[in-house]
């Protein structure tokens, strides 16, 4: 069984051309859109977060299944591992925000005379913001590196101690992530609207992260399978991933709905203003997001066969990926750019540029190790996976 993956030249060309298209679109954007620095920084933040989330999903997926004693995922674990290799790049990109804070975060302005924002200054201040950022990345990168290392060590030895160590690392990551996922979403996304607050927000962002990660995961599997790899991934694995996509799309909708409904219901201005801005400024986008992230995957993946068909699954996953990108866009842009913001060349171009680079990093990482791990005590279970 050949489990090694080599990036073909064609693939490399595709990745490169995605980035080039991105650059071209950005150039067009500069020509026609007259972007302010705000627009540029907004795109940087948006794509930073989006691809960081995909990468974080990689670590999360492994950690989650490890502590749940899951067997079925083992044969697939190289892919999330590869996703997690993007984290250091994401860290560098996030730290670029040092130069864009003024454009992105209203609360960094000095002459506000806003008692509410002043009241938050113990938390919302630039130094602490970056200290927290450093802590998050240190934890994520460190633990994801250790988890990958642990996985490699298991490949070389059939000693179960690596299995046990892996569980400890996974538990540590889960604990760290449980807190940091919420705080990061407050820091980086919620504080864009510095008056607004919602306790559910962190979990809502988290579930978006999970859904987009699953979708990316499915797409990578579909791509690799189309290249003739991953023959050990059977329909049962796909079915489970399909169920994940299906189930978590519903869960995303559940959280979206309750956050919206509770605010709609109480109708307290300091909360409703968040949705009022989005509904008034972006009515189409507002509902498109619901369709792409919930209605479409829900209907498309309802039947058993839909979840077992790789092509169909990949198509749904692509839609969800677009939906989640738009979701983050709508969380950020009304706060940064106001209600008149539009998705134009700059936004799409920047996304393409990021996507090319991201794919390059991921597939590079995939090609460095065999696609199938060895010696994992649950590996055999994963092969014999059936309902």
């Amino acid at each position: 069984m050949n489990t090694n993956y080599i990036i073909s030249k064609k693939t490399k060309r595709v990745f490169l051309s995605i980035s080039v298209i991105g650059i071209l679109l950005i150039a067009l954007g500069f020509l026609f859109q007259n972007p302010e620095s705000k627009n540029i920084w907004m795109s940087v933040l948006l794509n930073n977060l989006y691809f960081l989330f995909l990468s974080l999903f990689g670590v999360l997926f492994i950690a989650l299944h490890k502590i749940a004693h899951s067997g079925w995922h083992v044969s697939l674990k190289r892919i999330p591992e590869a996703l997690s290799t993007f984290l250091p790049y994401a860290a560098v990109l996030m730290f670029l925000l040092i130069f864009g804070m003024h454009d992105l975060y209203h609360w960094t302005h000095h002459d506000l005379h806003d008692p509410i924002i002043e009241g938050k200054s113990a938390y919302l201040n630039v130094p602490f913001f970056f200290i927290r950022m450093a802590v998050y990345f240190a934890g994520w990168i460190g633990l994801s590196y250790l988890l990958r290392k642990n996985s490699m060590s298991q490949d070389l030895s059939d000693d179960y101690k690596y299995h046990k160590q892996g569980k400890v690392l996974a538990a540590l990551f889960m604990a760290f992530f449980a807190v940091s996922s919420s705080t990061m979403s407050w820091d980086w996304i919620m504080s864009v609207d510095p008056h607004w607050f919602s306790t559910l927000f962190g979990w809502y962002v988290f579930i978006g992260l999970f859904v987009s990660g699953i979708a990316a995961f499915i797409l990578i599997i579909a791509f690799l399978k189309s290249q003739g790899h991953l023959e050990f991934v059977n329909k049962e694995h796909l079915h489970d991933l399909g169920k994940y996509l299906f189930g978590f799309s519903i869960f995303w909708m559940y959280l979206w709905f309750f956050q919206y409904m509770l605010i709609w219901y109480s109708h307290i201005p300091e909360e409703t203003i968040y949705f009022a801005q989005r509904l008034n400024g972006f009515p189409v986008l507002f509902f498109t997001i619901l369709v792409l992230n919930f209605l479409f995957p829900f209907l498309a993946l309802m039947t058993r066969n839909a979840k077992r068909n790789i092509k169909w699954l990949a198509m749904v996953a692509s839609v969800v990926l677009i939906g989640q990108w738009l979701n983050i866009y709508l969380m950020l842009s009304p706060g940064i750019l106001g209600e008149t913001a539009q998705i134009g060349f700059i936004e799409i171009g920047a996304a393409c540029l990021y996507l090319g680079g991201f794919l390059w990093v991921i597939f590079n990482a995939l090609s460095k190790k065999p696609l199938l791990c060895k010696n994992d005590p649950f590996l055999e279970e994963s092969f014999h996976y059936e309902t």
Partner: protein, 172 residues
Amino acid sequence: MRRYISAYFTDEEDLLRASKILMEKEISILDVLTPFPVHGLDKVLGLKESKLPTVGFIAGAIGTIFAFGFQTWAFVVDYPLFIGGKPHFAIPAFIPITFEVTVLFAAFAMVFAFLFRSKLGLGAKNKIHDERITDDRFVIIIDANESDEHFENVKNILEHEDAHDIQLKENQ
């Protein structure tokens, strides 16, 4: 009067094997009775996928439309009240009940469909072949009306596949 063969097994693996061979030999199996669901047996016997999910989906969809429609009708058309300054057509507030009714309809429809299709229910008088079937016996029931030769043939196969006991029974 109907005759049939009851073949008793004590292990599901034997049962699966025997069923497979019987199916291959195109010997018609009337029924297989087991104390618990034996994994893969339905595939071996070539049973069609159950339509219960479809029933559930349709009933659920009816529930959705009914619940949402009813709330809308009651609040917008039949008796619009001013409540808390909210619009009469208060979509977010209608969702929870819509969801619950959907689940309720789907669940009940499926359960009734299951009972109806399986002829199960309060006071259903299905024949109990053997009291051990609900304990530890796996039974294949084969039509034995054709001929003695057929019976022998079947018996041989079954014995070969470790059948614990083979009986010829008659139906009143």
